[in-house]
C-alpha cells in the first residue's frame, strides 16, 4: 500500500452537547476500501460529512485534523472545499430516491456537476455525462439523460448518482450506505459494479454501513464505530475473524448466518447511548458482560501491528 490519500486524526464533531464524533482517527490508502461500521447514531455518517465539509448546523468540527493528499483541509475556506468536493472527493448517499433533485432533468444535474469544476462547453459536458451513464450500466444513456429522476427505478437512480460521483475520477468516494434502500439483487449488482469501478480508477472508498456482510465482501480494512469513537479497526479478515472488542463480537454475533441455523440470534442487550451524556470511560460498558470498574476510566488506544482497539478487557480467546 502506498501513502494515505486521506488521514483523519482525532476528529471531533459536536452538535452542541451531543458529541456525535469524538476522537475518530483512521487513514485510507490510495485504492483501498475501508468499511466504516456502526449502528445508526454511532457517528459514522457525521464522520463522512465532516470529511467533505458538509456538516449540518448546529454541528461543528471542534477538534482534530483531516489531511487530504498530504494537506490539512480542516480549516480550508468554503471555496477551497467546494473546489475539492465532487472533483477530488465525492459522496454517495443512502437513499437514491432523495439524492437527485426531483424537478431537474438528469442531464441538468450531470452537466452542472461537470461544469462546476471544468471550463468545458455544454456539449462536451453532456458527452461526459453520457459516457459516465454508460459506464455504470445504464442502457441508452442519450435518451435517459433527458429524463427526470422519478422516471428511474431506485437501483437506476443510485447508478446515476454513482456516475455523478465518478465524473471527475475523484481520489476517494465516501459511500453512505448506498445499497441499504435497494432490493437485495440490485444491491449485489451495485456492490460488484462499484468494486470494479473503484479498482479501475484506483479510487479509495470509504463504505459506511451497518451491514457486516457487505463489508466482508467489499472492504480491505474495517473500522467499527460506537458512540462517536472507533472502538476497533484492522484488516477485515482479522477483525471479523477474531474480534477483540466485545462490541464487535456482539455485532458479528447478531448477523444471521447459514452455519448457525436454528440457533437463537444473539443480540446486544440495552440501547445505544445518548451521545449528549457519554461516560468518561468506555461508552459500551453499560451493555458489556465483561465490564468492571476499570472500564469507567478513560480507555487508551491499544495497538498491535496493523490492528487497533479500545478495550481494557479484549477478547483474545474468541475464536470461530
Amino acid at each position: 500500500m502506498n501513502a494515505a490519500v486521506l488521514e483523519v486524526r482525532d476528529l471531533r464533531t459536536h452538535f452542541g452537547a451531543a458529541k456525535a464524533v469524538d476522537g475518530v482517527s483512521f487513514s485510507v490508502a490510495r485504492g483501498e476500501v475501508l468499511g466504516l461500521v456502526g449502528e445508526s447514531g454511532s457517528g459514522k455518517s457525521v464522520t463522512g460529512f465532516s470529511i467533505i465539509g458538509l456538516v449540518d448546523p448546529p454541528g461543528t468540527i471542534v477538534g482534530g485534523q483531516i489531511v487530504f493528499d498530504g494537506r490539512d483541509i480542516t480549516h480550508s475556506s468554503r471555496e477551497e472545499m467546494r473546489a475539492l468536493r465532487g472533483r477530488r472527493m465525492a459522496m454517495i448517499f443512502q437513499d437514491p430516491m432523495m439524492t437527485l433533485n426531483p424537478v431537474l432533468r438528469i442531464d441538468t444535474q450531470m452537466i452542472e456537476a461537470v461544469q462546476a469544476h471544468e471550463n468545458v462547453s455544454r456539449a462536451d459536458a453532456r458527452a461526459r455525462a453520457r459516457d459516465a451513464l454508460g459506464m455504470v450500466g445504464i442502457p441508452s444513456p442519450d435518451e435517459r439523460l433527458r429524463a427526470y429522476p422519478h422516471q428511474f427505478s431506485g437501483g437506476m437512480r443510485q447508478r446515476v448518482v454513482i456516475a455523478i460521483a465518478l465524473l471527475h475520477r475523484p481520489d476517494f468516494i465516501i459511500a453512505d450506505e448506498p445499497t441499504t434502500a435497494l432490493d437485495v439483487t440490485i444491491q449485489a449488482q451495485i456492490l460488484a459494479e462499484m468494486q470494479e469501478l473503484v479498482a479501475q480508477n484506483n479510487t479509495s472508498l470509504i463504505w459506511i454501513t451497518h451491514d457486516l456482510a457487505v463489508v466482508s465482501r467489499l472492504a480491505d480494512r474495517i473500522a467499527v464505530m460506537y458512540a462517536g469513537r472507533i472502538v476497533e479497526s484492522g484488516s477485515v479478515s482479522d477483525v471479523l475473524g477474531s474480534p477483540w472488542h466485545p462490541y464487535t463480537a456482539g455485532l458479528i454475533g447478531s448477523v444471521p448466518s447459514r452455519n448457525r441455523r436454528g440457533e437463537r440470534l444473539h443480540q446486544i442487550p440495552g440501547m445505544t447511548p445518548n451521545v449528549a451524556r457519554l461516560p468518561t470511560g468506555c461508552a459500551f460498558a453499560p451493555r458489556c458482560a465483561r465490564a468492571d470498574a476499570m472500564c469507567a476510566q478513560a480507555v487508551p488506544l491499544f495497538t498491535a501491528g496493523m490492528r487497533e482497539h479500545r478495550c481494557v478487557h479484549p477478547l483474545p480467546e474468541f475464536r470461530k
Partner: protein, 307 residues
C-alpha cells in the same frame, strides 16, 4: 435523511409526571413571553370593552354630552367644560378616547359573536359531512370549496350589498364568510378521529349516532377548531372594520373602530390625523394581540401545524 439521527431528548418520567393535559398545555403556552404579553394585552382590551360605561370619560352615543364647539380638537385639548380630550375629538365633538373604548365593544362583539356562530354552524356541518359521508359529504364539501375559492371581502361585500347595513347583517355576512373554514377543518379532524379506536369502540357498543357525534367525536375535534376560532376572531374584526370603512358595515350612530377611522378619513388630508389614527392603532393592537395568542395556541395544541 442519511445523517445519523441523534436520539431525541424525551422528558423523563418525573418531568412528564401525572399532570392533567390541560395543565401541561398551559405551561407550554406560558413558556412564550410574547404570547403571554399578547394574552395580557388581550385581557386588558376585553376588560376595557366590557367595562366601557365605567371607564370611558364620556358616553359617545349620548348626543347631550357632545359639544359641537369641541369638534376636531387635537389630542390633549381642554373641553369647554374643562375636561381633557387625551386623544382629541372628532367632527362631532366626540371624545376620541371614549369613542374608541365604545368602538372596541362593537368590534369585539361583532368579531366574537360571528366567530362563535360560524364555528357552531360550520363545525356541525363539517362533522356531519365526515360522519355521514356519501353524497351529503360531497355536497357540503363542494359548497365549502366553492366558497373558499372566493376572497372573503368579496363575499361579505356582496351579502351586505344585498342585505344593507346594520350590526346584525354584518354578523350574518361574517358568519357566511367564515363557516366554510370551520367546516373544512372539522371534517378533516373528524375523518382522522373516526379511524381511531375509541370511535370503533363507541360504534360497536351501539351508542346512538347523535351521541357518538356530539359526545364522543366533537370534543376530540375541538383543539384545532379553537385555534382556528382565535385567528378567525381577529380576521372577523379586521373584516368588519374594513366593511365599515367602506360604508357597508355598522350604522353611523354606534361606530365601530373601522367606522371611526372612516369618519376621520376626510380630515386627514388637512392634517387632522388623530381622528383616524388612534382608532386604527386600537384596532391594530387588538388584532395583533389576538393573533399572538392564536399563534401560540396553534403551536401548543397542534405541533404538526408548525414547520
Amino acid at each position: 435523511m442519511s445523517v445519523d439521527t441523534l436520539p431525541p431528548q424525551l422528558p423523563t418520567d418525573a418531568e412528564r409526571g401525572e399532570e392533567p393535559p390541560f395543565r401541561i398545555l398551559m405551561r407550554a403556552f406560558f413558556r412564550s413571553p410574547v404570547a403571554v404579553a399578547g394574552l395580557v394585552l388581550l385581557a386588558a382590551i376585553v376588560l376595557l370593552a366590557l367595562l366601557a360605561p365605567f371607564i370611558a370619560p364620556q358616553n359617545p352615543y349620548d348626543l347631550n354630552q357632545l359639544d359641537i364647539m369641541d369638534s376636531r380638537l387635537p389630542p390633549g385639548s381642554q373641553s369647554m367644560a374643562g375636561m381633557t380630550y387625551w386623544l382629541g375629538t372628532d367632527d362631532q365633538g366626540r371624545d376620541m378616547l371614549s369613542g374608541i373604548i365604545y368602538g372596541l365593544r362593537i368590534s369585539l362583539g361583532v368579531g366574537v359573536s360571528s366567530a362563535l356562530f360560524a364555528a357552531l354552524f360550520g363545525a356541525s356541518l363539517g362533522l356531519l359531512a365526515a360522519y355521514i359521508g356519501g353524497r351529503t359529504e360531497t355536497a357540503i364539501m363542494r359548497i365549502v370549496d366553492l366558497q373558499l375559492s372566493f376572497p372573503s371581502i368579496l363575499v361579505a361585500l356582496m351579502i351586505l350589498a344585498f342585505l344593507g347595513k346594520g350590526i346584525l347583517n354584518v354578523v350574518l355576512a361574517l358568519v357566511i364568510v367564515e363557516w366554510a373554514t370551520y367546516a373544512r377543518a372539522a371534517r378533516g379532524t373528524a375523518l382522522t378521529e373516526r379511524r381511531k379506536e375509541y370511535m370503533e369502540a363507541a360504534e360497536s357498543l351501539a351508542i346512538p349516532r347523535w351521541r357518538i357525534l356530539f359526545v364522543h367525536l366533537l370534543p376530540n375535534c375541538l383543539p384545532p377548531l379553537i385555534v382556528i376560532a382565535t385567528v378567525q376572531v381577529a380576521r372577523a374584526i379586521s373584516l368588519e372594520a374594513t366593511l365599515s370603512f367602506l360604508g357597508l358595515g355598522v350604522p353611523i350612530t354606534e361606530p365601530s373602530l373601522g367606522l371611526l377611522v372612516a369618519n376621520g378619513y376626510q380630515y386627514m388630508l388637512s392634517g387632522m390625523t388623530w381622528i383616524s389614527f388612534y382608532p386604527g392603532v386600537a384596532l391594530l393592537i387588538t388584532v395583533v394581540a389576538i393573533n399572538l395568542v392564536g399563534d401560540r395556541l396553534r403551536d401548543v395544541l397542534n405541533p404538526r401545524g408548525r414547520e
